[in-house]
């Protein structure tokens, strides 16, 4: 931990908290829990984040930025909308497998603790990086004629509700196959739902 810049240390705290919050839940994770997992004192935590809620909100922003960046990369590729859907789905499930805390945080912390996020993250402000990239994906698809022009949130709800729903089902241990085996089916379903009719 020595010779760390303040920003690096904040990231360390966020990563540790992200793991704990997404595993045990916001209210079952205590500040001492986080401090211990970092080998840091409780008091010092407050030099980096002024409250548990501020920490939770910073994490949501941090996570959204990482996910947004991944989608931005996909958006930049010169491939068909269907290929993009597949890549986004694959990327999402990769993260769900390799860094499950990021998706779980969204599903189990952000989604359900409105009170925690209401002063600073209201109206999806803290996940705007992520939402924006999905919006770009959608609008480019419409512009290129591959996707039907419909209300953005109709499309967003489908795409993200679907992916989130699958990860939830995985977490409940009801899926018979590993997540990645669903990529093809899911991408096809999403594409069929959103594509322009005449294509």
């Amino acid at each position: 931990m020595a010779f760390m810049k303040k920003e690096e240390k904040k990231i360390g705290i966020m990563e540790a908290s992200l793991k704990l919050f997404s595993t045990k839940g916001f209210y079952n994770t205590t500040i001492p829990d986080i401090a211990k997992s970092l080998g840091m004192s409780v008091g010092n935590m407050y030099n980096y984040f002024k409250s548990k809620e501020a920490l939770a909100m910073a994490i949501m922003q941090y996570t959204s930025d990482i996910l947004g960046e991944k989608i931005r990369e996909i958006n930049g590729k010169n491939i068909s909308v269907y290929e993009k859907i597949k890549l986004i789905t694959k990327m999402y499930f990769d993260i769900a497998n390799n860094r499950p805390e990021m998706i779980e945080y969204f599903l189990r912390v952000y989604l359900s603790n409105r009170d925690v996020f209401q002063n600073g993250c209201e109206g999806m402000i803290c996940v705007s990086a992520f939402v924006t990239e999905i919006m770009i994906f959608f609008e480019e698809g419409v512009r290129s004629g591959e996707l039907r022009d419909q209300d953005f949130f109709s499309a967003f709800g489908l795409f993200m509700g679907y992916l989130g729903g699958m990860v939830f089902l995985k977490g409940e241990n009801v899926l018979q196959k590993p997540l990645e085996d669903y990529i093809e089916d899911i991408s096809q379903n999403i594409y069929l739902a959103l594509k322009a009719q005449n294509v």
Copy 2:
């Protein structure tokens, strides 16, 4: 409250708790809160539910049964799969408007507090009434040739992730239109995603 049978009183407690849990969250709703909202003593609550967690689980079962019954009615109708999708979507949004606590409970309490539901509701046991009816809807659609035969959870995740996602977006106040104005679009998207290719 007089002349109430034990079972009726349990339902009264579940209804009151459902409202509070879904509004303020599980951990921000205290047993005294619930008792007060019912004009009942704290101790007496425990004559009906042996713990706060047991109460939360009973509520999930109760809610799932009500939703399952609504879908069962729709399943019983002699109409096309597309009509069924529309009715289910409409029913879901009606509830989201008129008894928002039921959907919110699922989204904000059940979905995210795994620890609370892990001893008694694991593996979606407590929502099986609801899941079963969606399964029946799907299998009948496949049997009639209207729906593509695919992994059930691929279809379930789409349908329910989507509807849940929309209600979540409504809760975040980011939707420009009232929920019911989305019914047509959403039903169409779901139908396009799931229908048999040759239809």
Copy 3:
């Protein structure tokens, strides 16, 4: 329970409570526990004993009377003091083996919950039946010249502290032999301590 006289029912309650109190302790045994073990309602318990403390005191009296009666029988026998000591020790250990709740009640409920017994059993009133018989044993031994004439409580503390201590040690599982194997040694020790010097 039908056709039981009030007094018989009180005994039934005392016996059931005796078992629970001596096993789980006074504060860890609830009135509902006792009622359930009797198949009786909580409210009805209060028709027989006006409080939990009153019940505890009645039990102590009841137990003391039974033990006192057993000693009275031994006192009535035409045998040497040494034989009497042996019979009392044997009787005490028999009870510790066959009705352990009686000895345990004394050791673990009466002895330690002074507050419970302070309004009604103070100054060993409730165990006077028992104490009186030990007193008779002692005074007859002195009168017959077999026992040294000393302060009664010096003798009582030796005799009863010793026997209680052994049962306690048994309860802690530190004794290598069964209680009855100690009878000879213990009787001898007590006799040597109390007997007249010239005998």
Copy 4:
């Protein structure tokens, strides 16, 4: 309380609790009671002892160590067994007079609340310091030929059951004389019971 090391503070807490537990009983002494008697906050108590039961067990160990040490001193003296019995009895009664909480704790808390001590103090582990010294006293007496060679627990039960019994009788206010006036009689009784026959 300032400038106190953690270990010193633990001792302060144990001493305060010892007094309260032995006076009012384990279940009638609350953590707030203890905290108040120390001018300390409830929460802070838990920085020193992780539960009320852990505190009770630490106290038993602490008390046993102090008593053990006192007996160790007596064991070290170059005096006859009879003198040692008298010194131990005197020491025990001195403590019963001057620090009554120590003996009362043993009699009224440890002895009777098996449930409290069963995870951590089972089998007299927590009083081993004390028991060990009595064992040494006994074995040295046997080796020197002054005491009869008998089962240790036969002797231990006599010695300690007797002394404990006398303190109990004192607590019940049935003794006509102050405890110290019994020392001579009691020491003699113990000696007569345990001494080698030919002496």
